[in-house]
Each structure stands twice: as C-alpha cells, then as structure tokens.
C-alpha cells in the first residue's frame, strides 16, 4: 500500500511538466502584463489579449534609445508570436482595421487534411473521349471502383463500354477517295482492367479568393482485356469480323478536385496499350479465298488507345473520424 502511494506520487509528478507546456508565453521582456488588463480566457487559460486597450506603461521618451541588451521593452504587445517571429507581429495601427474583418471562429495552427481517402471506396462514373485516333472516335461511358488501402494507394477495377458509340470520321472517306489508300480501321466493344492508383500530389486552390477546394493528382496503371474488331474497309463484301479479346495494359494520369469530403470531379488521361488485329490490306484473287477467314487478317501492331476520361467520384463512407483531434 505504501509503495502504491509512492507510485501515485511519482506518476503525478511526471505529469507536472505538461502544465508548463500548456502555459501561455509570458509577455515580452518577461514582465507581467502591466495593469493586469488581460482577462483570462475561457477554460482557464491566460490568453494574450491584443484587442484590449494598450495598458499604461512607463514608456520612455521617443528620443530615448532602446536598451542594447537585446530585450524588448515591456508593453510592446503581440505576445508570443512577436517573440517567435517579430516580423509577423501585428502592427498596433492595423488592429482596429483587422478587428473589423470577418474571422473564422477557430483557427488551428496545423489544419487537418480536408480530404482523406484511406479505407474508403471511390465510385467513379466517367465518359471517355478518344485523343489519338484520327480515323475513328471511340467515346463511351465507363465506371471505376477503387479502394484506398492507404491515403495514397488504391486498388480497383474499371471498365469502358464503347460498342454503340464508335464513330468513323468523314476524313477516312475523303482520304480514300482522293488517294485510293484505305486505312485499316477498328472499332471497340469494351475494355476492363484491374488497376493500382498512387496519389503522389495533393494541394489546395483558392478560387476567386472566396472559396478553397482540395485537389490531388494521381498515377494509375493496370492490366486487363480490350475487345476490338476490324471494320471491313478493304473488302466489305466478303469480310465480317467478330469482337475478340486483346490483353491490354494501361497507364494514366488523373486530376481530382474535391468539392466536398465525398464528392469530386475527375479528369484522367489513360493510355491503353495492346496488340491490335488489323484487316488485311490485300484481297485474295479467287472468290473461295476471299471468303476464307484466314485471308482477312493483316498486321498486328502495338496500339496505343489514349483517351481522356471526365467524370465524378463519390467516396464511401461519406465521412470519417480523424485519428487525432485537431
């Protein structure tokens, strides 16, 4: 029992240093506030009151040189921040004007990150646009679902559906008619991929000086399948192609603007890299050979389908608890 009392005393004494940490900085010069004008803040803390009238001090005449011992004269105001960074010390003349400003009810020395991703699902519907195919546009809707393992790393899947939206440009016809050169064309049905997402960059923007939104930039990469087929251009009378699977790798860059803690606008550039199957540029000489499917297929070039994706992101759950209070 006696030992327990000593332990209690020791534990209590170890806590005492925290009292010193919680104490406000002393006024400049180590003097107590003259006149005792500063009222204690709510909660018992002795906050420094810059808004209070300047207390009467024994101010030396203007022609009196300041002491050369490095100490500041008492009553200069500003309190702790003036001691830490004199250049940031509020000017007495500005206080009246500054007091008229609208201020936030609370200001924290270190703000929490506004938009956290760790442990949340991201559901991202988007619309994609072709960026590098001059001959056939491949727009289409898509959906991505990601789960953030950490605040910067996610795993997920995405898929895009193109089939009803492929648009062959008039440019192909104009070019064929003028030069008698047919460009082999392909249309897409869909693609699907499993991806990793890494978020190395985040930041804030102040818009029009009125509102602040968070944004981040991410890189994404993965592997999946793409289903494509040639559009019969060289011999459309005999050739009819079916969609087939291609192994597809993808890399991309994305930019996400958070409008609140669970809703964001996203834009992404994604390069889907796969081996495409093109239509044969030559036509077999006989009717039987022309109808033989083995004569329909030509080159298999490595193809980059670069697309821009514009969408929105919904994060679930909608809210979270910070690990530490602010």
């Amino acid at each position: 029992m006696k030992q327990a009392r000593w332990c209690l005393l020791l534990a209590a004494l170890m806590m005492l240093p925290t009292v010193a940490m919680a104490q406000p900085a002393k006024p400049a010069g180590g003097q107590p506030p003259a006149g005792g004008a500063a009222a204690p803040a709510a909660g018992g803390g002795d906050s420094i009151e810059l808004d209070d009238p300047k207390p009467p001090t024994d101010t030396p005449p203007a022609d009196t040189p300041p002491p050369d011992d490095g100490t500041k004269p008492a009553g200069t105001g500003g309190g702790g921040i003036c001691e830490i960074d004199p250049s940031a010390c509020p000017k007495q003349a500005d206080l009246g004007k500054a007091a008229q400003r609208d201020v936030a009810a609370e200001v924290y020395a270190v703000q929490q990150i506004y938009f956290l991703r760790r442990g949340r699902f991201e559901i991202q519907p988007y619309w994609s646009f072709t960026l590098n195919d001059q001959f056939v546009n491949h727009p289409g809707p898509g959906l991505a679902v990601n789960y953030y393992l950490t605040n910067v790393l996610a795993i997920g899947i995405n898929g895009t559906f193109y089939q009803p939206f492929n648009v062959e440009k008039e440019f192909n016809f104009q070019n064929r008619r003028a030069s008698r050169v047919a460009v082999p064309l392909n249309e897409y049905q869909m693609n699907a991929a499993a991806n990793f997402t890494y978020v190395p960059m985040y930041g804030k923007f102040a818009g029009f000086g009125q509102f602040i939104f968070s944004y981040d930039a991410y890189v994404v990469g993965g592997v999946g399948i793409a289903r494509t087929k040639p559009i019969p251009v060289i011999d459309p009378d005999n050739r009819k192609f079916e969609f087939d699977n291609r192994l597809s790798f993808n890399v991309g860059l994305g930019f996400r603007i958070a409008l609140n803690r669970w809703f964001a606008i996203t834009t992404e550039i994604r390069d889907y890299i796969y081996v495409e199957q093109l239509e044969a540029l030559t036509v077999a000489p006989t009717q039987d050979q022309q109808q033989n499917q083995s004569t329909w297929f030509g080159e298999k070039p490595l193809t980059n389908n670069i697309q821009a994706q514009l969408g929105v992101a919904v994060f679930l759950p909608f809210s979270w608890d910070y690990r530490l209070p602010r």
Binding site: R5, L9, A12, A98, V107, Q134, A178, M201, A206
Partner: protein, 279 residues
Amino acid sequence: MKRWLTILASGAMALGTLAISNDAAAQEIQLTGPLAGAPAVRRLRHYREGRFELGAGMSATLLDEYRRTYFVTGRLQYNLFDWLGVGVFGGYGLIGLSTDLTDQIDSVSPRNSRTAVNVGPRGKFADQTARYTYMINPQLVFSPFRGKLAIFQKLFVDTDLYVHGGVAFVGLQERGDCGGPGKKPCSDPTTFGLESRTAVAPSFGLGLSLYTTNFISLAFEYRAFPFSWNRAGFDQRGGGNDAKFPDQRVDAEDRTFSFNQMFTLQAGFYLPTLPKTTD
C-alpha cells in the same frame, strides 16, 4: 506520515490531471489569441500582379492527320492584377514530322488518272502536306485559382490554374490554287508546291503554373485554335450540287474544318524578380 503522503499524492494527481486537459486545449488558437483579427493568409505572394512574364518553351501539335509540328514558343505578358494578364503567345514551327498515314499514301497510293490531281510524284507526298510556320496569339489570361501543391509530401510549390483566350494568327504553308481559269491543271507536278497564307482563328485553352522560385515558373498548357485548311492538298470539294464532290481544282473550297490543338511546356521568368507580398 501516511496520511500526508496520501494527501500529497492525491493533490499532485489532481493537478496533473487538470494539466493534461489544459494541454489539449492549448493546441487551439482561440479568437482571443494572438491571431485574433489576423488575415487568413500572411505574406501571400502575388506572383503575377504588376509583373512582366517572359516565357520560353516547346509545343507539340495533337491529333494531326498528315504532319506533326513542334514549335519553339515564347510568351510576353503583363499581369495587370494577380488574376488578369494581357500578352502575346507566339511560336515558330521548328520541326515537322510526317505521320504514318502520310508515309502510307506516299508508298501505296497508285499514280493514275484518278489520283493525278491529288497525289504528287512518289517520294514527294510529304512535301505537299500543309504545315504550320508560325503563330502569333494576342490573348488575355485569367487566373481565378491559386494554391499549393505537395509532391510526395516533401516538395511544396505554389501553383495557379489559368484559362486563356484570344485571336491566333497562324502562318501556314498549304498547296496553292490550281485547276481554275488561267491556272495550271492540278495534275501538273509543278502545282504540288506550297504557298503561304495566314489563317485567323479563335484561340483558347487552360494551363497550370508551378512557381519553383519567386521569379521562375513552369507551365503546362493546352491550346485549341480551330480553323479550316487543306491539310493534304487534295481536291475534295467544290463540285456537285452541294459542292461536296471533287471539281478538278484545288482552292479555298477544299479546306475542311479542323479542331487544331497543341500542348505546351514552358518556363516563365518574371520581372521584377520579387513578387509583391501582403502583410
């Protein structure tokens, strides 16, 4: 002795407990603290306001059908405010590269009566495709968004996001007119040469600036400048009831609309070298 020890321990424990709660409260800077009435941002750097910007960089055209062009670019701009600047963007088409389609046409296209008007001698098709020579683009730059970017949580840079709009004067070389009255027929090999003209087009886009120091920035910029031109030098229009068929002439009728685009990477230098800062 035991009782005094108990009282002392209890008192110290209570004092310590109170101290712990005070410690948490002390992390907040309340309205009555030294930041009361202070502006939300101190020493805000106005990178643009009242400063000249000299920029230099490279641009690459996007989604070209027959020829890609790489520009050497420059920008001279004066920023009236932090959110509004006026200036000139310009570029010179330094490098032109043929696309795969151009090479295919050159090597595969049959040279016969059907293509004689459109495709020049073998090995020369790339020479008849149109190209950019220069661009002069007076513009307004509107920068509504400014902020910070953290990279790998180690590197922090100030940024702004801007949109720009103006009028682009684009120097072109495209196939000259032929086949009309008093002109050589377009099948004449000498008609495949290029002539210069200037196209006028709206220009608009957006960009992201990263301020690496007080007077140097790095900008990524997208620009669109749509207009009609005859990129391949083909006779494509002018005939038939609705002028959608070839007419054995190459002229302004054969220009087709193109949503021309480019991507620019540019370094900016600001004068004076120190930005204005708020209190």
